[in-house]
């Protein structure tokens, strides 16, 4: 079985190391004998419409706006997501996949609308620090990451968060963090989040390929546990 992972504009959305999520997915997919192809989408390139997993990372305001403009005019990511492709979007990427967000001048603009989420910038100080959440589904354990963002994101009524904040800020409303709606995952957690939470990496993979055999990766597990024990 083959799996196509599409990493979107890592030059623009790679400020916080989230590009590592691709390497972790590839590593864990290969351990399950999947044939993995990584498609690196750079500015000017068309976004493939038949990918299985699309990845967006965190970036600075200007590059975030540039990435959003290109994704809107390309349309490939919306097409793939409407067809059920998996999307994992972190921080600036999470804001991009929502319905609205501030542009680099602070004016509210339309996002990709893959999920019903609205990001605003208010006067509160930047949210910076370790973030710990309790997921409500997927038999996921406590997840940890590092948040560093200005915007706060309000989810629509029917939108399930990825988890509830135990410590940190997260989305900034109702102690919610991130989103997990259908096959779309969003989060403010860097780390990269899939490095610090191998169970979430497998949840993302399963949403694309279905059930998979167990994979014990000692370094991944001991690292995830060390972070959880240190922070809870």
């Amino acid at each position: 079985m083959s799996l196509t992972i599409v990493r979107l504009y890592h030059d623009l959305l790679g400020t916080y190391g989230d590009q590592g999520n691709a390497e972790i997915l590839i590593h864990r997919a290969k351990a399950r004998n999947l044939d993995v192809e990584l498609v690196e989408v750079t500015p000017g390139m068309a976004v493939p419409r038949s990918g299985d997993i699309y990845l967006l990372g965190g970036g600075e305001d200007g590059p975030q706006s540039a990435a959003l403009e290109m994704l809107i005019s390309d349309g490939g990511l919306n097409y793939a997501a409407a067809g059920g492709a998996t999307v994992l979007a972190i921080c600036a990427g999470f804001q991009i996949i929502g319905a609205s967000l501030p542009d680099s001048h602070g004016q509210i603009t339309s996002g990709l609308g893959l999920v019903d989420a609205h990001t605003i910038y208010d006067s509160s100080p930047r949210s910076v620090g370790e973030l710990v959440i309790q997921p409500s589904r997927g038999e996921l354990p406590v997840l940890t990451g590092f948040e560093n963002h200005q915007g706060l994101t309000r989810l629509g009524q029917d939108m399930p968060p990825l988890g509830i904040v135990r410590s940190g800020v997260g989305n900034g409303f109702d102690r919610q963090e991130g989103i997990w709606h259908g096959n779309v995952f969003g989060s403010y957690m860097h780390g990269p989040v899939l490095a610090r939470n191998p169970e979430l990496a497998d949840a993302v993979l399963r949403s694309a390929v279905g059930p998979m055999p167990e994979f014990k990766d000692p370094f991944a597990e001991v690292f995830a546990i060390e972070r959880r024990n240190t922070l809870t």
């Binding site: 400020t15 590009q19 590592g20 600075e60 560093n148 990269p192 490095a195 690292f223």
Partner: protein, 395 residues
């Protein structure tokens, strides 16, 4: 109290406090003494700097070594007293203390933290500012590279200072876009990993030629100095330092400049542990790690990672570095965040193990050459542990 009496009282009290606190450890005395001075005379920095020839050095990587290098060049070539911070203190308190120490020195070469540069620039009216480079560092504290660049852009709007920059770095070019006097040095252009878009207008930058030229005009100004493309980071910094020294009147001939560039100080120190001498690179952000990895030649490597304030509290950036240079080598990870780096290396297929301390890491390795790359506070821990440190440059 009159202004000058207030200042001299502040300086005497500051010196006393500094001496009393020497037992606190490296650099602390300077900071404490500076705090006392600033508490007693909040205007001490501008008063102590008045009438002196001041050079500020800032940037992400190489501030401390470049400041030392420029100080020693000025001492050799200008033959007059040069004040500088011996400990690398680069915030207002440390700067007040170094200026108070020998107030009659004509020159002062001052390392300045990126975020404090606007304030120190306004207080001191320097003759020259050297901006070495800007890349990602301590994202939890400084915010993003673009923000530092914008802060500098808003600071340097007059023609009362000459600013020396590496124009191949678009963040620096943007920082000085409104400045009156700029010495632009080029090293033939090189891709900046954090500058996919223009720092000025946010357009996507075209790097296909290995250089940038934005339609908004950023990058179009001609360079004043052309230097060798093959120079590494510390050598590039030396080129800028030489230009700054020349602006201060030092006569440096071409062959002397070449010699200085070849002898560029690097952040490499020798430590001894378990009977081994370990050539240790200090690295604290993606760019300095890339440079340090480029220097690795031995088959055994120790990597030590912490995530205290100055190291950057978020370790995610470790995933932004290509470690393929370490494939086939024996790598031991240590430091408080050894698992972060060990897991990252294991995903890249590198043979890696972990050790609870630097000394233990050295013990697990064979009696063959070892190199180490350590983060900032891990390096300070090594100094504190007194592992028979032979501090000095290996070059």
């Amino acid at each position: 109290m009159t202004g000058s009496l207030r200042l001299s009282t502040a300086c005497i009290a500051g010196a006393l406090a500094g001496r009393l606190s020497i037992g606190l450890g490296r650099g602390r005395g300077e900071t404490l003494s500076g705090r006392v001075i600033l508490a007693l005379d909040p205007k001490a920095i501008s008063k102590l700097g008045a009438g002196r020839d001041i050079i500020l050095v800032s940037g992400t990587n190489g501030k401390t070594t470049s400041t030392k290098n420029l100080t020693s060049i000025l001492r050799d070539f200008a033959g007059e007293g040069v004040s500088t911070s011996e400990s690398g203190a680069n915030m207002p308190a440390g700067i007040a203390a170094l200026l108070a120490q020998k107030p009659r020195n004509r020159f002062a070469v001052i390392e300045c933290d990126e975020m404090y540069l606007p304030k120190i620039y306004r207080l001191l009216s320097p003759k020259v500012v050297v901006l070495l480079n800007l890349s990602r560092d301590q994202l939890h504290r400084t915010g993003e590279v673009r923000k530092v660049s914008r802060l500098w852009h808003e600071t340097f709007t007059k023609d009362d200072v000459t600013i020396v920059i590496d124009r191949d770095d678009p963040f620096l070019e943007y920082s000085v876009a409104n400045a009156g006097h700029v010495i632009r040095t080029t090293f033939g252009g090189r891709r900046h990993p954090d500058a996919a878009t223009c720092p000025s207008c946010a357009a996507i930058l075209d790097w296909s030629t290995g250089d940038y030229l934005c339609p908004c005009g950023l990058g179009s100004k001609l360079p004043d100095v052309r230097a060798d493309k093959r120079l590494n980071g510390p050598q590039r910094n030396t080129v800028l330092v030489i230009e700054a020294a020349r602006l201060m009147g030092a006569e440096i001939l071409a062959d002397e400049a070449e010699d200085l560039i070849n002898r560029s100080p690097d952040r490499i120190y020798d430590f001894s542990s378990a009977g081994q001498t370990i050539s240790t690179h200090l690295a604290k952000n993606p760019e300095s790690w890339r440079q340090a990895l480029g220097e690795v030649t031995s088959d055994q490597v120790i990597l030590s990672v912490n995530a205290r304030g100055i190291d950057g509290r978020d370790t995610s950036w470790l995933w932004d570095i290509d470690y393929s240079k370490l494939l086939g080598k024996k790598v031991v990870c240590t430091g408080e965040r050894r698992l972060d780096i060990a897991y990252r290396l294991s995903v890249q297929g590198i043979d890696v193990s972990v050790a609870s301390s630097f000394a233990e890491a050295a013990e697990t390795l064979a009696n063959e050459p070892i190199q180490a790359i350590v983060s900032y506070t891990a390096f300070q821990d090594l100094l504190a542990a007194d592992l028979g440190i032979n501090k000095g440059n290996s070059k």
